[in-house]
């Protein structure tokens, strides 16, 4: 490669270190006006050509020039990182209600949960792509209604909504036992063991 002449180096460094894109006149001015803008432009073209196809490019915007990274490499400059988060209790409840009762409106969800549901909770579920709006209910106010998505089925390993356990299944699994009864049963078992030992 031929050595780069001093003028070209100087212009290249100016363009690199400048806050703002520079035009040929500004560069000529900084160089003491020994060169015409036309001559400067020719050198800028040479610099741009030298960088063509590299990871740095010199581009013109309205007669002003600046260095930038090529657009096709933009993806390398942002790195996407997974940020796993556990779904909150409230969001889990809302999701379950949508799954068991879909399509449901927010008011219906609140009626079932017995507590107000923040907009953020639905947003989280939509961001996770587990629920999606499914039109509006034809009642006064025409509220949005929600349903679960294919991504929901996929994430929870369900073939279809019919795979969701029924209420009886939940009861059998102990998921519908009041907390205090379950506690007493656990205590009762302890007593039996003690009695056995005494005998």
């Amino acid at each position: 490669m031929n050595p780069i002449d001093d003028l070209e180096r100087a212009i290249e460094a100016m363009l690199f270190a400048s806050d703002e894109p520079l035009d040929a006149r500004q560069i000529a001015g900084r160089l003491g006006d020994e060169k015409t803008p036309g001559e400067i432009r020719a050198i800028i073209q040479a610099i741009a050509a030298r960088h063509a196809g590299s990871g740095i490019e010199l581009v013109e915007r309205g007669g002003h020039w600046h260095f930038q990274t090529p657009a096709d490499l933009a993806h390398l400059l942002r790195r996407e990182r997974d940020d796993p988060r556990k779904l909150s209790r409230a969001a889990s409840e809302v999701l379950a209600i949508v799954a068991y009762h879909e399509p449901v409106s927010r008011a219906e969800i609140e009626a079932i949960r017995g507590v107000q549901t923040s907009k953020g909770t639905l947003d989280v579920l939509m961001e996770a792509e587990w629920i999606a709006p499914a039109g509006r209910r034809e009642v006064p106010g025409r509220p949005l209604i929600y349903k679960t998505t294919d991504a929901f089925l996929q994430h929870f390993g369900l073939t279809s909504r019919k795979d969701l356990p029924g209420i009886e299944d939940l009861r059998a699994a102990g998921l519908l036992d009041p907390v205090d009864l379950a506690f007493e049963e656990a205590i009762g078992e302890l007593d039996l063991v003690k009695d056995g030992e005494d005998a």
């Binding site: 460094a13 400059l77 790195r79 796993p84 961001e127």
Partner: protein, 255 residues
């Protein structure tokens, strides 16, 4: 002795009348002043005459004191140097420890080290510095980390959440869990029937049906105990217990 080193790099060249401006603030402490004076000998610090240096320092401080107050640490150094000077001039006392020569050597070593760092600092600051001699891109695009939120929940979380919702929201039928109990009447009846069968002392638990298990058994123990107290009150059984929490024995009251 040489003139005061007023033409040295750090100290501006000034008329004697302006000596006030040449305050001791020009120096970073007495060692720095000593180094400046030593430099005026224009020889390698290793060959410096400590005695001449001491003379220079003492003279300089004396002149400064005539015009302004001199900070204590400069005076402490002056006192120490005056001592060193006299020790160096007096006939050598071999018993003296440390010897004046050793003290002089230490001073020389300290001056060398300070001089070395003084020069190093100057060379460092003279390097091509970012923002003065070399320049970076003023507004780089920057490298960015984009966090992709990924929500996580298991099917169990989902089902148990639904279970909790159901529980919380089905209060219409107030579910007081039905508990298996043995009523006092039943216990009385049962105990009265058995009390005639057992002749000797028997523990209360022996009167309980063996198929009473779990909560039912606990209930049976409680109601049988109350039944036993009732029968004792009626004078129909005798009760015996060896101590608190010991087994409770009963038998039909002796006639």
């Amino acid at each position: 002795m040489e003139e005061l080193p007023l033409d040295f790099e750090v100290a501006p060249t000034v008329e004697r009348d302006d000596a006030l401006q040449l305050s001791l603030e020009s120096w970073e402490g007495p060692l720095d002043l000593l180094l400046t004076l030593a430099r005026s000998q224009k020889v390698d610090l290793r060959q410096i005459s400590i005695l001449a240096l001491v003379e220079q320092y003492l003279t300089f401080i004396a002149e400064m004191r005539a015009k302004l107050e001199v900070a204590a640490d400069y005076l402490v150094m002056a006192a120490w140097l005056a001592y060193l000077k006299s020790a160096l001039l007096l006939p050598k006392d071999p018993a003296e420890d440390p010897s004046p020569d050793e003290l002089a050597l230490r001073l020389q070593l300290r001056l060398q080290r300070l001089a070395a760092m003084r020069e190093a600092a100057a060379r460092l600051l003279a390097r091509d510095r970012v923002g003065r001699d070399v320049f970076l891109r003023p507004k780089p695009e920057g490298l960015h980390d984009v966090k992709l939120r990924r929500w996580d929940a298991s099917l169990y979380d989902l089902l148990s959440a639904y279970g909790q919702v159901k529980l919380r929201t089905e209060p219409v039928v107030h579910m007081v869990a039905r508990r298996p109990v043995v009523t006092l009447d039943a216990a009385l009846h049962h105990l009265q029937r058995l009390i005639g069968v057992k002749l000797d002392w028997a523990e209360l638990s022996e009167f309980l049906p063996s198929d009473y298990q779990g909560p039912l058994r606990r209930s049976a123990i409680a109601s049988s105990f109350v039944a036993a107290l009732e029968l004792a009150r009626q004078g129909r059984v005798d009760l015996k217990q060896d101590g608190a929490f010991e087994p409770l024995y009963l038998k039909a009251a002796s006639a």
